[in-house]
Symmetry: C2
Subunit: 215 residues, 2 copies
């Protein structure tokens, strides 16, 4: 990523970044095609290599950019004053949705990178960032949370995991549903009804896992 790229207008930058995020997230480093990325971004192949010196450096730059995006629009916005678990969960989910709106494939790309991190020999600089990110991502739903609101006949760790897994399962099914009904991009989908559905699930989970007096 050189100065030429950085001085592009934001829209074009984002188009290129997102094309890269999507291709690498879908196929992994080796199988990803720079031709595809250029085509999806709507630029010539030469131009891609005019902005990035080669495939590997493009990949590294994408990782760094994804970290930055996640940092700026997600992690740094989390309100760690909020001690209620479900409120924190709601806020963090909404922030995540913000990221999706800005850069639809940044987060799936990040997840892919996290999963296969060990296969890629990344420079020290990125490994360091990853370590930091891992910690803070893990703290989003734990740091300064009032876990005493959970019913105490179920081990706290289980409660925590069960809620995580349930939400994750719901998220995946929702993704599937949206993908099936319309081929439209996420940005074109009316999201309001899904929010209501999601809040409803949060309430139900509160019913299930909170002590009576906190429901």
């Amino acid at each position: 990523m050189n100065d030429a790229f950085k001085s592009l207008d934001r829209e074009k930058q984002n188009r290129i970044l997102d094309a890269g995020f999507q291709e690498f997230a879908e196929k992994g480093y080796k199988q990803a095609s720079t031709n595809q990325i250029a085509k999806a971004a709507g630029i010539g192949k030469g131009t891609l290599f005019y902005y990035f010196k080669n495939k590997q450096s493009l990949f590294h730059d994408l990782i760094e950019e994804a970290f930055n995006i996640a940092d700026e629009t997600y992690l740094s916005q989390i309100n760690f004053e909020e001690t209620d678990f479900f409120e924190r969960l709601r806020e963090s989910s909404e922030l995540k949705m913000e990221v999706y709106r800005k850069q639809e494939h940044a987060l799936t790309f990040m997840a892919q990178v996290f999963m296969h991190m060990n296969e890629y020999k990344l420079p020290e600089r990125l490994l360091e960032k990853r370590k930091q990110a891992e910690e803070i991502w893990g703290s989003v739903l734990t740091k300064n949370i009032d876990f005493s609101k959970f019913r105490d006949d179920i081990p706290q760790e289980k409660t925590f995991n069960y809620i995580r897994w349930t939400i994750e399962g719901y998220r995946m099914e929702l993704e599937q549903r949206i993908k099936l009904q319309g081929l439209s991009a996420l940005s074109n989908v009316k999201l309001e009804p899904y929010y209501e559905e999601f809040y409803d699930h949060l309430d139900t989970l509160k019913m299930i896992y909170y002590k009576e007096e906190f429901r």
Copy 2:
């Protein structure tokens, strides 16, 4: 799949089938490589095409074979007399594990095919099978189940989904854990402690979602 293949000894057949399952499950139809499959199965490339007439027919045969395996060692073994949800869940999980032991990648292959079914133009014969399979797979955790044991302050459908999602989340984390700790094949991993862990989760879920008198 011709007579030559069918008259191979079981072990070699399974080696080839599983190599195919794995490759297609990992990369999808187009990206899958017949070279890789032959190499992974430990046979020459020519031999693979001596057994199967071409890539597409190999793919179709694998689908059919996967359906048969799932049918024989999983679906047909489910005891639909058992009306307790968690007992049914336990049994079906153990049966699934049987399938894994016999053909490690058959089920992930099937899942992949189900997901991307619409992209492949499959012959009528397979589409029909799929339709049937879909119905019966859906019925495994519902048909003849006594849902009245669930607490009735939470909608039954939610209860059902939440348990599914929780178990699925647990399964994925377990897979991750096993993959990390040892690179050994599933068949070499001591499974007993995991079973205990799994049963423990089932008990906890019973605590959460059953009426008091059925816990």
